[in-house]
Symmetry: C2
Subunit: 447 residues, 2 copies
């Protein structure tokens, strides 16, 4: 069994069970890894993965997936999927040892395969893993520590097996407490993959075959960039709130068991420890602000960027074909995430128009990572704008997004087919990595 061991410096030695290849040639990523270590004591990519044995070739994995896994379980980058065999911190590695900067897996909250988290899981797995119907210290300790991070009134926990299960339970609690079934949901919202949540997820019932149930009420998304009330409105917050108030007035006139097991709670406790010990909240604020500033400079440089918004490391880059009309640049967003993948950066596109590049990396993301990511984005945007004749040089100030000098006609012409194509399959609208519009655009651009 490959153990994780630590020397006095907390440096991680590789699992014994895995063949250690010779160090590869210096790669650009090595420099970034060096930068990423500061204050973290955990060098990523300390051993080379290229020599790790695969069970199947990538083609065979893909074929077996087609045969045995339900087609609704989509892969990222459907027209050219990645096979990931290893990950550490904010880096993922494919079967050839290629390193990708991970800007999308915020679920790996404190970084992929954090040794403290793995250690806590192992220690508990060896002792006991069972349901929450026996008394156990881990569940109460985890609940206590989670509660301590929340307002005093929120002191009782229900552990569930997924975010969807949590939302389903929240719905039931609310319906039990109020005695009403009515739900107000935001337009385009996604609340989970269960029957009860699909019912209240407009992205699903507005685009698919499902119909809106009578008890579901849809309020406009409070989006001041492209929504119903924008930043030129005198009080957009009140305007959006009034929409909800009106829905309430109109409407008025008319249990989980294996979750919370000792292992998952031990893992949760280790994650809380790592967040504290590595000061990851401060890191998210600092690196997030740094990244937002870098992106704002990009916005001033590239006419495709219409808006930068977000909090901490959760950031959206809203791409537009026309600053005044704020026309979503959907095909461009698809093109960019595939091109970023070639540059070894994992990004996704989201939003009702799938034109918003979404950044939500593990919280150990560094300023070096931010610089690398923005550098690659800059290059791709530059090539894209040159190819489509929309190159602009600081034509738009940060606060006057409407002063675009984009060469609209050429651009619109070039992308017309791909945009049409992207409307064909509404079920593929979410997370934006599944369309094949990329290949069409790529052919035209030949970048």
């Amino acid at each position: 069994m490959p153990p994780v061991t630590s020397d006095a410096q907390g440096k991680r030695t590789p699992p014994r069970g895995i063949t250690r290849g010779k160090p590869g040639p210096p790669r650009q990523s090595q420099a970034r890894e060096g930068g990423a270590q500061t204050g973290q004591g955990r060098p990523p990519g300390a051993w080379h993965p290229a020599t790790m044995c695969e069970l199947y070739s990538k083609q065979d994995t893909l074929a077996l997936r087609g045969k045995h896994i339900g087609p609704s379980c989509k892969v990222f980058f459907a027209s050219d999927p990645i096979k990931i065999v290893r990950a550490q911190r904010q880096y993922m590695f494919d079967e050839n040892g290629e390193q990708y900067l991970d800007c999308i897996n915020n679920v790996a909250h404190v970084g992929h395969c954090h040794p403290e988290v793995v250690k806590a899981a192992l220690k508990q797995m060896e002792l006991l893993n069972t349901n929450s119907r026996f008394l156990h210290d881990n569940i109460v300790e985890y609940a206590k520590r989670l509660s301590a991070t929340l307002p005093e009134k929120l002191s009782v926990c229900y552990f569930t097996n997924s975010g969807s299960e949590a939302n389903d339970l929240a719905l039931r609690l609310a319906q039990q407490f109020t005695g009403h079934q009515d739900v107000i949901t935001l337009d385009h919202a996604y609340h989970g993959h269960l029957s009860s949540l699909i019912e209240i997820s407009p992205y699903k019932f507005l685009k698919g075959k499902d119909v809106k149930k009578e008890f579901v009420h849809v309020a406009p998304t409070p989006d001041t960039y492209r929504g119903k009330y924008r930043e030129d409105h005198e009080d957009p917050a009140r305007a959006y709130a009034d929409e909800v108030k009106k829905i309430i007035e109109d409407a008025q006139s008319s249990g989980r068991m294996y979750a919370g097991n000792p292992v998952s709670c031990a893992v949760g406790l280790a994650v809380l420890d790592v967040i504290e010990n590595e000061d990851l909240q401060e890191n998210a604020t600092r690196v997030g602000n740094f990244l937002t500033e870098l992106l704002k400079k990009q916005k001033a440089k590239h006419t495709l960027i219409g808006d930068i918004r977000g909090i901490g490391l959760f950031i959206g880059i809203d791409l537009v074909k026309d600053h005044q009309k704020r026309t979503p640049a959907t095909a461009e967003a698809q093109h960019i995430i595939y091109k970023m993948k070639e540059k070894r950066v994992l990004l996704s596109a989201d939003g009702p128009h799938r034109n918003v590049l979404k950044i939500k990396p593990p919280m150990c993301f560094t300023e070096e990572d931010a610089k690398f990511m923005v550098h690659q984005l800059d290059g791709i945007l530059t090539v894209l704008e040159e190819a489509t004749g929309t190159k602009t040089e600081s034509v738009t100030s940060e606060n006057t997004p409407c002063e675009t000098k984009m060469l609209k006609e050429a651009h619109v012409e070039l992308l017309r087919d791909s945009t049409t194509n992207s409307k064909e399959n509404p079920s593929r609208k979410r997370n934006g990595m599944y369309t094949d519009t990329h290949s069409l655009l790529s052919k035209r651009l030949k970048t």
Copy 2:
């Protein structure tokens, strides 16, 4: 980090990180453990847990649970809960090192904390754990191996986070495929804890506040012991099938993402390996048949046992107050599971009347365990029957359950209060470990 290591004999050495106490005095359980090793190469309880540090005393754990965990998350043996700190194979250990024979946790399918399963989890956790949107060998290999155990037509897998999520998805697939919403469900059925499943779980909507939805149709449970059509019916199978047919005729006239991650698939593959390598299916058949035979002898001896039924190691012991009327012995079942707990055997009571002792242990359960369990049950039933004046000596043959000589009046009198009491809280009906009828009965019996 405490690794799991194996010597040539496959003997497990304890994790280094945990204090190893001196071996305790020989206990009865040691003999059983010896018997349990045959052909398995994995001695349980190799180190003594009494010296392991607890974070909180049992009382503090209980108090914190009351404060921070939602009350709908019930504990086993509510009036006297157990704190379990460690488990191996079919044994669980409390904070004092007391060993319990586990007859209820079939989720720990190949035995608690199986070192091969732990090893597989650790190996994968150190490498990569992420969602199923990247290509990975584990998900396709696990799907392939699961499919190989199923009929050829069943070759496509959807991985979910829980049995409830699986049932919700199955419902959606069926409704999508048929274009109909109607569902036929068996009376008393429990299908999961999600909104969509509570709707089709009669145990919930018949007993609680929820009302049956129009699209839900309830068919009688095909129970030939206490159901609508019994073993004296000329063709009970057809009779139950006809009920379903009639419902169909009446009705006609009127996707998941983090599940299937590399770690859970590695664990699943290790479980399949252990089942094969340790021949656990054969074990379940052999030990299950052995246990059923032992229990049938108990049925001949104890008038409280009305029926023994089940397949393999999933066995029910139907307790009755009256063989002819088959009156459920609900309070007795509660009493027995608490008494079995005192004898260090974990059992539960289930069924619409909570009078069926339910056995569903890990699959590594041995003949020694079966003997021990039946021996304890025999002792408890003997004392119970003596105390209530219902002692019988082989008065009922296995096939003539109606010839009881039970002293009905005394028995009924004694248990009247507890039975009434057990009806008070319908929400506690499931899994039968939550009522306090035990203490009332215990006081009377003073056993």
